[in-house]
Amino acid sequence: MDVHHAFRRRMVLRGVSLELGTGMVAGVVGENGAGKTTLLRILSGELRADHGVVHHRGRIGYCPQDVVLNNSLTVRQHLAFFKVAFALADLRRAEEIMETLSLSQYLDERAGVLSGGTRQKLNLTLALMHDPQVLLLDEPYQGFDWDTYQRFWDLASHLRDAGRSVLVVSHLAHDAERLDEVWQLSQGVLRPRTALPS
C-alpha cells in the first residue's frame, strides 16, 4: 500500500497501491523501465521500499525476471535444494509442473548448459513447486516456444481455479485478454486498465 521507491534521484514508484484477490490472475503492464520489476521485487521482499507497506496472505512464489539459478548444479540438484528450503515432504508438485513445461527430460543436466528457454522453465518451476498462495511472476515466459507459452497460461488458469492469487508482469499487451484484472504502470503510478489497444 502506498509504495514509493527511488533509485538515487530517479523516482520509480510514486505511491503504488494494489490489492490482489484470491482466485485471480492479474497483470501489471507498462513500458520498459516503467518500474514493473521494481514493484515485484518490493512485493516479493527482495527490495525494501522507501515508503509504504506490503501485506501477504500466505506463502509467496516469486519468479524473477532474470533467471536465478546455480550454473554448477543440475536440475535435479536445484529441486533437491529447494525441497529443503521449502521444507517439502516430496517433489510431486515440482514433477507435475516439469511435466507441464516439458522440463523432466533435463533432470540431470547442469543449469549452465541449458538453453535460455529451458533455464526459464526451471526458474518458474522453483517459484511454483511449493504451491504458494501468492504468485509473483515477472515475465515468466521469456524464451518459451509457443506451445510452452500456451501451457504456461493453462497452468495459470489452474492456479486461479485452485484459489491462488497470481500477479504477472508483462510488457505484452496481447496477454491482457488472459488476465482477470490489468493495471497499467506509468510514470510511477499504477492505474486500473479497462481497455487495451489492440
Binding site: I42, S44, G45, E46, L47, R48, A49, V53, V54, H55, H56, R57, G58, R59, I60, Y62, P64, D66, V68, L69, N70, N71, S72, L73, Q77, A80, F81, F82, V84, A85, F86, A87, A89, R110, L126, H130, Q133
Partner: protein, 263 residues
C-alpha cells in the same frame, strides 16, 4: 535437529559440487602449487638468509630458496582459496538470496560455505605441504600444513567478503591478487631481511608466515602466531558473515506474512 542437519549437509554438499566445477581452481591446485614451490627451490639463490621469528626472538638462518618455497606455497594457497571462494560467492549471490527467501536458513547457508572452505583449505594446504616436502626436508610438516590452512581460511573468508562488496568478477580477482602479493612479498626474507618487525606485524598472513617458517626450519612451535592468524581469519569471517547477511536479507517484515503454513 534433523532439519538443521539437513540444512547443513545439503548446502555443504552443493557448495562442494560448485567448487568441484571450478576447473580453473582445480588446475591451479594441481599445477600451480607444485610449479611455484619447485621453481622457487630451483631458481632462487640458496645463499643463507636471516629470518626473525617474532614470537621467540630467534634469528633463523636458512637457505634463501627453501624460505622462498614457504612464501611461495603461502602465496599459492591464499590466491587459490581466495579465488575459489570469491568465484563461488560471486556466482551464487542471487541464488543464495533466492534460497534464503524460500526459507533456507541463512545461518546454515553461511556455515556450509565455511565448511566447504575448510575442506578446500585442508586439501590445498596438505597438497602444498607435500609439494614442499618433495624437495625440502621440513622439521614440523604438520605445523607447516596448519599455517598454510589458517592462511587459506583467512583468504577464503576475504574472498567471500570481496564477492559481496564488488560488482565485477575481475575486480575481485585483482583485489585478492594485490592483497596477497603485498602481504606475502613484504614478508619474504629474501626481499626483506628485517621481516618480523614493524609494519609486517599487521599484515593478514603474518601469523601464517611466521608459523610456517618456524615449522619448516626450526623445532619451535609458535602457537601465538597461529593464534594471531586465527584472529585474522575470525575478523575476515565476521566481515564475510555480515556481508552475506546483508545480501540475503528479506525486506518484508515477518508481520507482512499473515498465514504461513508451518509444514
Amino acid at each position: 535437529m534433523r532439519l538443521h542437519l539437513r540444512w547443513f549437509t545439503t548446502a555443504t554438499r552443493y557448495a562442494l559440487v560448485e567448487h568441484g566445477h571450478n576447473r580453473l581452481a582445480m588446475v591451479l591446485i594441481a599445477l600451480y602449487v607444485p610449479a611455484w614451490v619447485t621453481l622457487a627451490h630451483l631458481s632462487v639463490s640458496p645463499a643463507p638468509v636471516r629470518f626473525r621469528l617474532w614470537e621467540t626472538g630467534q634469528l633463523l638462518v636458512h637457505r634463501g630458496n627453501d624460505l622462498t618455497q614457504i612464501s611461495g606455497a603461502l602465496n599459492a594457497v591464499c590466491l587459490i582459496t581466495g579465488f575459489m571462494m570469491f568465484a563461488a560467492t560471486f556466482a551464487s549471490g542471487t541464488f543464495d538470496r533466492r534460497l534464503a527467501m524460500a526459507g533456507y536458513s541463512r545461518t546454515y547457508l553461511a556455515l556450509a560455505k565455511l565448511a566447504s572452505l575448510a575442506i578446500a583449505a585442508a586439501g590445498v594446504a596438505s597438497y602444498a605441504t607435500a609439494a614442499i616436502r618433495a624437495t625440502t626436508t621440513l622439521q614440523q610438516p604438520l605445523l607447516v600444513a596448519a599455517a598454510l590452512f589458517c592462511a587459506a581460511m583467512t583468504y577464503g573468508a576475504l574472498g567471500v567478503t570481496l564477492a559481496s562488496l564488488l560488482d565485477r568478477e575481475v575486480e575481485g580477482m585483482f583485489a585478492i591478487a594485490m592483497i596477497s602479493v603485498v602481504d606475502i612479498v613484504l614478508q619474504n626474507p629474501v626481499i626483506s631481511s628485517n621481516s618480523g618487525n614493524s609494519i609486517v606485524l599487521y599484515l593478514p598472513a603474518f601469523g601464517a608466515v611466521q608459523a610456517a617458517s618456524a615449522g619448516a626450519f626450526s623445532t619451535t612451535a609458535p602457537l601465538h602466531c597461529l593464534g594471531v592468524q586465527f584472529l585474522w581469519f575470525t575478523a575476515a569471517a565476521l566481515m564475510a558473515l555480515f556481508a552475506f547477511h546483508r545480501r540475503t536479507r528479506n525486506a518484508l517484515p515477518p508481520t507482512a506474512v499473515a498465514d504461513v503454513p508451518t509444514s
